[in-house]
């Protein structure tokens, strides 16, 4: 009986440990998901009108026009979308390749263009992937293979490039998205972080697929909601620093 009691205690301890481990895994940000901004700034509410940054070793000296920064995106980024299927609230998560492109930061403003190869998207379901690419996105047509986001307006805190590292959360941006042969205005937010190795961004925005003349996907009684959330994880490097490295 005593041994049994010990086993129960042991079992309870093991269960608690398992739950703690499971909890740790579940609530740890997953790899491949859009990266979160550094914790310090992530806790700050989004400030649409007056974005700020926090810099380490920050002698505040805003970039001038002549000090424009060119950031080339690297392949470590990723693209993700979340669509909801009805009536069952099915979560369809699509993952695609890293966006490519260049972003220029000048005079406290970021502009540039990034592109994503839509044929790289997968949703963990082969049949769904085929339908998505062939029937809806029609990526077999050359003009539809790539989605392009042109960033026209995004205020970057003037001191973001000062010091060894910096973060800036909830920066609103405006631009245009070219998708499926259609171009529409989009608005979203981006969180930035910078350290010695890279500049990272986590951009989020929403698109209404019917705006891009994409038929609302429907299959076997499940219909996808028109609004799709997009998350783009950007990883880039300052061209000047890259060139300066031996």
């Amino acid at each position: 009986m005593q041994r049994f009691g010990k086993r129960v205690l042991f079992g309870a301890a093991a269960s608690a440990l398992s739950l703690a481990l499971v909890g740790a895994v579940v609530f740890t940000p997953k790899s491949g998901a859009a990266p979160k901004p550094a914790q310090k700034s992530a806790q700050k509410p989004a400030q649409k009108s007056a974005p700020t940054s926090e810099t380490a070793l920050a002698p505040a000296a805003p970039l001038t026009q002549s000090q424009a920064k060119q950031v080339t995106l690297k392949k470590e980024g990723s693209t993700r979308f979340l669509a909801i299927g009805r009536p069952s609230a099915l979560r369809i998560v699509g993952k695609g390749a890293a966006p490519e492109g260049k972003i220029e930061v000048s005079g406290g403003k970021a502009t540039g263009q990034i592109a994503v190869d839509l044929s790289t998207f997968t949703t963990e379901n082969g049949l769904r992937d085929r339908h998505m690419k062939e029937k809806y996105l029609e990526v077999d047509k050359a003009a539809n293979k790539t989605a392009r986001l042109t960033i026209q307006e995004c205020a970057v805190p003037p001191d973001f490039f000062n010091g060894a590292s910096a973060t800036a959360a909830g920066l609103p941006f405006k631009g245009t998205l070219s998708l499926h042969g259609e171009e529409r205005s989009v608005e979203g937010s981006v969180s930035l972080s910078r350290d010695a190795s890279a500049i990272r961004g986590d951009a989020k925005f929403e698109v209404k697929i019917s705006d891009y003349k994409i038929a609302v996907p429907s299959f076997a009684g499940i219909t996808v909601a028109e609004n799709v959330q997009i998350e783009v994880a950007l990883v880039g490097a300052d061209d000047a620093e890259t060139k300066a490295r031996p």
Binding site: V8, G11, R91
Partner: protein
Amino acid sequence: MTSGFVRGVISSTVLVGVAIVALGSERAHAFAENIRHGYVNCISCHVSPTGGGALTSYGRELSRELMSTWGREGEQNWMYAYEPSTRLALGGDVRNAYSYVDNTTVRQGKWYFMQADVEGYANVLPEGKSQSLWVGGSLGIEKKNQSVEDYDFLTRRHWINYRPTDEVSIRAGKFLANYGLNVPDHVAFFKRMTGRDQGSETYNAEVAWIGENWNAIATAVFGRPDDLSLRRAERGASLSASYAFLNRNRVGVSYWNGESDLTRRQLTGPFAMLGITERLYVLSELGFQWASDKARDTEQRGFVTYTRVGYEAHKGVIPYVLHEFNALNDQSWGNRTDGYGAGLQWLPRPHLEANMMFQKRRTPSIAAGYVDYAYMMLHFYL
């Protein structure tokens, strides 16, 4: 034992064949672990709002595309022939199981006939309506006694389900009242010891909110007025609320209050379906029960747990580990049982499922040490 095993395999195959040709019917069989793929609600794949039973056309597609190791185009169709429709869902299950116990006093392996049913539901509202009204049920056979070849017809489920919106569901009829995970593990302590085993279907009225994140299901349970000899059939109510998060996880809590001719009880506790990754999942449930025996005027309290962790090693091949604990009677601690083990679930092709599990089980009042227990279930879904 070996010859008995072979005889069992042969008789199962024959039974499956007979059931395919003739009839079938029966019980909720759902794969809650598919939450790891983003299926946070049952109704993507099942006509029943709480899961199990006849598959929707989407569910059939998924059985081939996502769940089975192999499968040809169209193989997922009902009886390999009927192409799924969004207005008519046909289903059915044939299941046989083998259980094996090896302890100091007995070494026994035995095949059990579990079910053979056909099932069908139709949406009777005109095409194009956003609402739906599903009507249907199951028809099958059950063995009157496992030791003799004597069968009865039965309908385990028949219900009518009105869905005025995507989120709201109202259902009435005979079905297994909603509570917790509702895993299909026939031998799980949680199912067997809390009266939610096969054959526990009752007449109910159910209202459900099935939202993007929140689910809430309230069920009024009316027992079995069609068969008053079933003295254990409970009347009462159940409530369940759960929340889906991070696209492939759901946690919730359920409450059951029921009374039969023999007992009165309350059961409550949390449950969780966690899709840790696209391949790794955890199903876990804990139930606290307060029960009283009307005839003996005795009371007992206790708890029961179920935890299963599985990993899809290859498409359709899912090894898992399992832990269970049953201590529902605080008046008799020696009757507590705990079990741990490992199993393998394999869905080789659409329509076919095999589930093998080996467990070490211990009940102190019966034996000092752990005994071997094995279970194998062969499932053919039409």
